[in-house]
Amino acid sequence: METLSWFQIIAAMAGRFLPVWLALVVTFGLSISFRRRLGLYGKLFDSPVGMVGFGIVMFWVFTAIFANWIITMDPLAQFSGSKNAVPGSALRAPVDGGYTHLLLGADHVARDVFSRMVMGSRVVLQIAPAATVFAFMVGITLGLPAGYFGGKLDTGLSFLANLVLAFPVILLFYLLVTPEIVQTGIPMWFAAVLFVFPIIFFVILFNSRFFTNPARRNLYVGVVLVLGLWAYSGLAFNLDPLGVWSMDPNLLNVFVSVVFVNAPGTFRIVRGMVMDIKTRDYVAAGQTRGEGPWYIMLWEILPNARGPLIVDFCLRIGYTTILLGTLGFFGLGVSPESPDWGSTIDDGRKLLSIVPHPALAPALALMSLVLGLNLLADGLREESLKD
């Protein structure tokens, strides 16, 4: 069989992404027709920048979702004789009914670059947003009181945040993300501390609002505690009695490290916003009717800080993606076999000047995702300022 031309490669890839295109068309069609009723999300479709960004991000989200249908080969399988094969090469011994070409070539151990890239999106899009959410929970839960109360609490927490921020990220990763550290159980304790924040957050959130109505408060807080502690036991200590929640120790370590590095940044943003918003009259109005400090922080201040926080959330997912890539690049990734983009770039860079394509594909993929997130953040910022 013949090697495909670039035109054929592109056409073939576009074909493989068919489910993604369909999903994108549906998403955009629905969103644009109902955009006037969708708040900030709807306004995003008034901004070309935001739309492009959203499109790119959703492209990768759908790719991650439909990855199983898109890939042409098993991303971990090695195809003998195809070592460093150029894009479009035909397989030496194609499986019956299987795909016959290596669309983007093969890497130094003869694995299909295209399929690895597609599968890699799954790893990235599972970890990055989740880690960012946790970092936000930590940052918000600590940033609110630091900004609101000020004083010694603020000094202490800000010192800790600056401590983490002053640490060169790579050094921190080299110290934290190693198999030796996993043996000591430190990541577990980290997780034990960091994962408790979402539970605290939601408990306080509901309690401060509904303490005037104990029945409803008990219901909400109870549900949070049951669900939260269940997930907590599984994720942090791997002790979930039902076995639904669990995390691979290596993954947990990467996850915890990324959350740890991101949380201080969020903390600083939240703190700054709170210091600004707490001078507003509606906060004073809350105080003069005797509201508790947590109600004011969570229900009066936080919702009004949402604009900048949403923008920062998008940027931070991008930043986390870069961080994950950095980890992979230094061989500190989730697992050596993992098709995540950073590790794949790391694999490919050794022969970079001779066979660039195995590293180039994931590099461009990562770049486009981060670009999409940045554009999305820009669009959101622009639209949220237009109110």
Binding site: Q287, T288, G290
Partner: protein, 695 residues
């Protein structure tokens, strides 16, 4: 730089049928429609109207600085006979700053923070006259002295933030005068300043206008100020000029229903909350894209005639016998302009009951760090000094003073947001002085509530109106179930005269006055007995102010609420308060019933304050007392009497007593208290500041 082709007997500025629109993604928003006006050399023209009426847009159009979205869509602006609307950028640049200069509302924001004042001033002649740097600085120094700033050498070498607000505004004026412009545009030049400082600026502007023969376009929402400064005025409503003419004619013989309604809604001397209440203009200002057909004022007008007023666009018409007096009203000849106000219903005076709040010797000190780096000496700010007073049920006690006088601190202490340094606060016979709000019980908290100043800030922007009121009900333990609280919330909306449908609206869908009403509803959710209203109407438009004030008064009458009305606006204070307390730098300098305070003998500060407030009534004669200098900082108050640095009576007190000793609080009889060293006979000789001329 006079243009030889222009004849000085012709108008300096002629605006003809000017229309301006702003273009957004969705639509074109007309901001100004068919606006015409003429300014003769040496004349001061006032542009009056409420916010959003397009008066600032006109000013910016004259400067041709409408921004990216704004465009002149029709008409002409002729300056000295040359059409500005078609002028090129380079030509415009020569006119800006040299022939037309502008003075802005926010002096701090309009000066470059990173440039010395002198450099910013000197720049003007250096650009327009090609003056050398040394000459330009010398001129700057001279003009700085001209705007009556002390120590001009120091001033021109300082940065803007080192000057006070009043000084900054003088610098902005100096900058405008650097090249002796033919036309000066003043856009609300004193709105951001305190009244006593405002009086000084207004005097300066008037004098300089005469001195240099400059024509002025004076933009303001304050009718009294316009009367003080201008020869002619033009009243604008919703993008249109509705009436224009000579100030005295328009004030005394207005021929447009909007002008009339405006005058009826502002508290002039003689208005009284019970006997002669204000008449609020019904309805709301129309949004630019929701203007009605025909007369824009139609839906709010008492004389509206369906099928006639809303049939087609209305042109300006000349009023005969007037001095270029024009009105945009179809019915101006039919309306009986001298008819008494029909809607005015005298209301029963509220019953004043027992004492509910008593403060004795209250002090509140803050310690602040000395420098920006947190180092240096700790300084003590004495925000409130020996505050003693009592307030009774159903009474309105006004607390009057300018910025830094400690009135907001006082409110915080009373609310329990801060605790007092010493002294006692008795609330219904319970001492709450050292109890912060978190320790107060629900009854006390719900009994003392507050209405805030800034309507755009008083409601949480991300919660519905109904939800915010219900939250207050929940906290105050009102109602047994959600349904009961919901019903009560609707009643509260009725109480503040808002439609029930507003419960589901977000605050951004409400106008300023409506938000303020929601704020009032929220304050009364727990049946408040004492309400502190911190400048509740000062950020609202004149026509809305009256309605909100009346609402507060009505609720007070029904519930016997004690109202502590904090304000700097003496007109409104005279209108609605029973007793007045005047504060200066943390001290109460005068206290008494409204009549006592507004009649001589005055405290010298009260006298100056009264004379500084502009009154939009041609029959009122006002003595001009302009205070020198600015309000001293509360961090570093002067020794002795706090007011001695600016007091014009100081020389009447023998032996420099004012410099050394804090005057005692003296009782002049009938509960009228005054903190002054002046001898009784001098006080007795004081003349009233305001005289109402016989008609």
């Amino acid at each position: 730089m006079t243009d030889t082709t222009w004849d000085p007997s012709r108008p300096i500025l002629e605006i003809e049928n000017l229309s301006i629109s702003f273009f957004t993604r969705l639509r074109e928003i007309p901001a100004v429609m068919d606006f015409s006006c003429t300014v003769m050399p040496g004349e001061a023209m006032g542009l009056v109207g409420e916010s959003g009426c397009g008066k600032s847009t006109v000013a910016l159009a004259v400067m041709r600085d409408l921004g990216k979205n704004g465009r002149i869509v029709g008409g002409k602006i002729r300056f000295k006979g040359r059409d500005l609307t078609t002028m090129g950028d380079e030509e415009l640049r020569h006119i800006r700053g040299s022939e037309i200069a502008m003075i802005y509302q926010e002096p701090m924001a309009s000066l470059n923070p990173a440039m010395k004042v002198g450099a910013q001033l000197a720049e003007v002649p250096m650009i327009h006259q090609g003056m050398s740097k040394a000459d330009a600085w010398a001129l700057a120094r001279q003009i700085v002295a001209d705007v009556r700033l002390p120590d001009p050498d120091r001033i021109i070498n300082s940065y803007p933030h080192q000057l006070s607000g009043g000084q900054q505004q003088r610098i902005v004026i100096a900058m405008a005068l650097m090249s002796k412009p033919a036309l000066l545009i003043l856009d609300e030049p004193t709105t951001a300043l305190d009244v006593t400082v405002e009086a000084g600026i207004v005097d300066l502007v008037k004098d300089l206008g005469h001195k240099y023969g400059t024509s002025m376009l004076f933009i303001s929402h304050n009718l009294g100020l316009v009367m003080d400064v201008c020869d002619r005025l033009c009243v604008m409503y919703s993008g249109e000029a509705v009436e224009t003419g000579n100030v005295v004619q328009v004030f005394d013989k207005m021929r447009h229903p909007y002008t009339q309604a405006l005058f009826r809604s502002i508290p002039l001397p003689g208005a009284d909350k019970n006997a002669r209440p204000l008449v609020a203009i019904p309805g709301n200002f129309p949004l630019p894209h929701e203007r009605p057909p025909g007369c824009n004022f139609g839906p709010r007008c008492d004389y509206f005639e369906k099928g006639r007023c809303d049939a087609h666009d209305i042109e300006m018409e000349d009023v005969p016998e007037g001095d270029r007096h024009q009105t945009r009203c179809l019915k101006w000849q039919e309306v009986d302009w001298d008819a008494p106000i029909a809607a005015r219903v005298a209301k029963e005076k509220a019953r004043i009951g027992k004492v509910v709040l008593k403060m004795e010797d209250l002090r509140k000190y803050y310690s602040v760090s000395g420098s920006a780096f947190g180092g240096g000496m700790k300084k003590v700010v004495k925000a409130n000094e020996t505050l003693s007073f009592e307030a009774r049920e159903g009474e309105t006690l006004a607390i009057v003073g300018e910025s830094g006088c400690g009135k907001s601190t006082f409110a915080k202490v009373l609310m329990g947001l801060e605790t007092a340094t010493s002294g006692s606060i008795m609330l219904f016979d319970e001492n709450v002085q050292s109890t912060p709000i978190t320790k107060r019980n629900v009854d006390t908290v719900s009994a003392v509530q507050m209405v805030f100043q800034n309507p755009f800030d008083t409601l949480n922007p991300s919660m519905t109106v109904g939800r915010q009121i219900i939250r207050a009900l929940e906290i105050f333990k009102q109602g047994k179930s959600d349904a009961e609280r919901h019903a009560r919330m609707l009643e509260l909306l009725d109480l503040v005269k808002l439609p029930r449908a507003f419960a589901d609206r977000m605050p951004r869908q409400l106008s300023g006055g409506q938000k303020q009403r929601v704020g009032i509803a929220r304050a009364f959710a727990g049946g408040a007995k004492v309400v502190v209203a911190d400048e509740p109407v000062s950020a609202l438009d004149v026509s809305v102010q009256a309605a909100v004030t009346d609402l507060l008064m009505d609720i007070q009458r029904e519930n016997g609420t004690t109202l502590l009305f904090i304000s700097h606006d003496l007109s409104i204070v005279r209108y609605l308060s029973d007793r007045v307390m005047v504060m200066y730098l943390g001290h109460v300098v005068e206290m008494g019933t409204t009549d006592q305070v507004f009649q001589p003998p005055y405290h010298p500060y009260t006298e100056a304050l009264l004379s500084a407030v502009p009154i939009a009534d041609t029959h009122v004669e006002r003595k001009r007392i302009v205070l020198e200098g600015d309000i001293p900082s509360a961090v570093n108050p002067p020794p002795g009497c706090p007011f001695q640095t600016r007091c014009r009576w100081k020389s009447q007190v023998p032996g420099g007593l004012c410099d050394r000793e804090m005057p005692p609080m003296r009782d002049l009889g009938g509960g009228h208290q005054i903190k002054c060293h002046l001898a009784a006979d001098i006080l007795a000789r004081m003349e009233p500041v305001i005289k109402i001329a016989a008609e």
